[in-house]
Symmetry: C2
Subunit: 385 residues, 2 copies
């Protein structure tokens, strides 16, 4: 178990924020987290972001955020691991505080991706894939989702409709989250009839990009206990990688990096998968949710989809997922998503999840996945008792 | 003093490497560092890079490098702080190893920027500036160099020729470094007569972009002592930030972030500026070298240029700088530069600097600066005795 605890959290609604600059977007989440932690003493800032250099002509977000948030002088930098940037930034904050060389660290995930045309965003997102061997041939993130889903359907003998439960669950939870991008409930029959984006991935299968920002403040546990009433402990934290190119995988349907990072995080926390009360996973596509459940040990190979069919992923199920709507309904603001996941798990463990609350949640896991699964970051949080 | 030591270093020649892919470029430095450390057990990889997403359509370099270097599965991510990305990546490796949660970390700085047209590179470099308030008006990194130099000349009453000593020294040292981009010696009279790039910055005043990669492997000091004959200790390590926009500075001619990061690093190391035997500074422009010397405490305000005039920056001078040619002659491969600086200081302290050797060097400092000085990373290395 690490000696690091969360003392502050903040997040913006995921939406199209054309009138909000990147720095303002980051600030809104930071302001909330600073207020929540009752501090403005921040020693280091880790910004999770993937695409600002390409979409907003702005890199160097560490200095930008430190300056604009009134934290000028603080140590600051950007952490990037494609869609797993937010989770990776969280990991760096944990290492920094654990080292004893940084007292209080702020993690902020921020991404602004809706005020550019679709091609630019698709192209920027695709830089997370293997540029020289896959993206160069036109493969996109959505294309990867389609390839994996098709293969899953072929290998395990399931149909498109069998994935519906993931999106239905995500929208049901998102409906209760005022900060979610989509709050409409979704019927299973609408899922199967949705227009195709990249066969067999349809419009209700894939998570929408959005603009958003989420922030987390961490410090050493003994300080945290003095500072706030309900610090949430980082029990385990791990990152693992896999082949960047999909064609190099031994098994296309096995998220090796996800499995490895879960095992490392569980070992660090001294826990097993059975101890986890909720799981914020990376449901960028329904097939990714199924694969994450399998890699994390909640389902056997090829059976992750059954947890959706059987309602085991619902709030009152065996392993609740996407409890605030997940990437699918809360929205997927690229490099910020991993920080949203941490904020959401922390809210569940604080008992401040509002209508999205999982009753009695004590231990939660968040998993942020980069592009096709080449990076995976897993954090295990627990109530500090 | 940190408990972290360097056990392996590697670097490629800085040059135009049009026939070398980004992953190969990274690998060549990594291979050398792994061989040097006699290990292939790497737990975490920190990639310093600024522009691959924009110039090579490739982000997610952590997974790319881990995969291609035969280190699949390792924790990995990209660290970005504009031109200070390499130094920031080094800092993260120090924190990771110091935390005890990462045993051995690899830092690799890599940048490929010569096989794109000039406008694209200038635009990518400029994302390190304030996009909304300065770069949007056409300000570039070279423009910043020109503004700062003009202001320095005005305020301190010096002329263009007074900066010549920095470039003459850099080229003299680069001439002895087989891995330098430019190995020609430069005469002071040629400097003053060089064609202008952005008045008053001329062709021999600014550092050239290049393709390159450098790598450093670190582990805890007690392990390092068992593993290699001459581990180099990270005595101090710090990052600081300043306003991102130049127009927000209280004093345009004071690199506040550089000053702060030097003070933090010296305090951590328990040293003063007088203890430093050599200083690899960020001489992207001659005025930046002068300002860095002043911010670091080696010269009074407005007198940094005199250290060049008086030869105090030469290899046998009071405070040798750019001992392998610096950014000016070794070349400036963007996000990789900060790792080159660490490799070069380590070589000096190992006594393996060849013709560039500073005799009897025991303590060296490296400072990597992001864009206009909004980020500064300082590392102090010392012989492990």
């Amino acid at each position: 178990m690490s000696d690091v605890s969360i003392i502050g959290i903040g997040q913006t609604k995921v939406q199209e924020s054309w009138d909000t600059s990147l720095r303002h977007l980051a600030w809104y989440a930071i302001e909330e987290a600073l207020d929540d932690a009752h501090t403005n003493q921040i020693d280091a800032i880790y910004v999770g972001n993937m695409m600002a250099g390409q979409l907003s002509h702005q890199s160097h977000l560490g200095a930008l955020v430190a300056d604009f948030a009134g934290l000028r002088g603080a140590e600051a930098m950007t952490i990037e691991a494609a869609d797993a940037s937010g989770g990776a930034a969280m990991r760096q904050a944990v290492l920094a505080v654990q080292s004893g060389l940084v007292k209080t660290a702020l993690v902020v995930g921020v991404e602004k991706m809706t005020d550019q045309t679709g091609n630019l965003v698709t192209s920027a997102m695709s830089t997370g894939l293997d540029a020289d061997y896959e993206a160069v041939h036109g493969l996109t993130n959505t294309g990867v989702g389609a390839l994996l889903m098709r293969r899953y359907m072929h290998q395990y003998g399931v149909g498109v409709a069998d994935f519906a439960g993931f999106s239905v669950n995500a929208h049901a939870n998102g409906a209760d989250n005022p900060l979610a991008m989509f709050r409409n409930r979704l019927k299973a029959e609408r899922f199967a009839a949705a227009p195709l984006v990249a066969d067999p991935v349809n419009l209700f299968d894939m998570a929408p990009g959005g603009d958003g920002s989420a922030a987390v403040i961490v410090t050493r546990n003994e300080r945290a206990m003095d500072m706030v009433p309900r610090p949430v402990r980082i029990a385990g934290s791990a990152i693992a990688t896999d082949t960047l190119a999909l064609h190099d995988r031994e098994n296309l349907l096995w998220l090796k990096a996800a499995e490895t990072s879960v095992q490392r995080a569980l070992a660090a926390a001294g826990l097993t998968a059975d101890d986890i009360d909720l799981f914020e996973l990376h449901d960028s596509f329904t097939v990714m949710a199924a694969l994450s459940l399998e890699a994390a040990g909640f389902a056997a190979k090829g059976e992750g989809w059954q947890l959706a069919r059987d309602g085991q992923i619902h709030r009152d199920g065996r392993i609740p997922i996407s409890t605030f709507g997940g990437l699918k309904a809360r929205g997927n603001p690229g490099g910020a998503t991993g920080v949203y996941q941490i904020v959401e798990v922390a809210r569940q463990l604080r008992g401040s999840a509002g209508d999205c609350q999982i009753e009695g949640a004590k231990i939660g896991m968040a998993q942020n996945v980069g592009s096709n699964g080449a990076s995976a970051v897993t954090h295990i949080l627990r109530v500090n008792e």
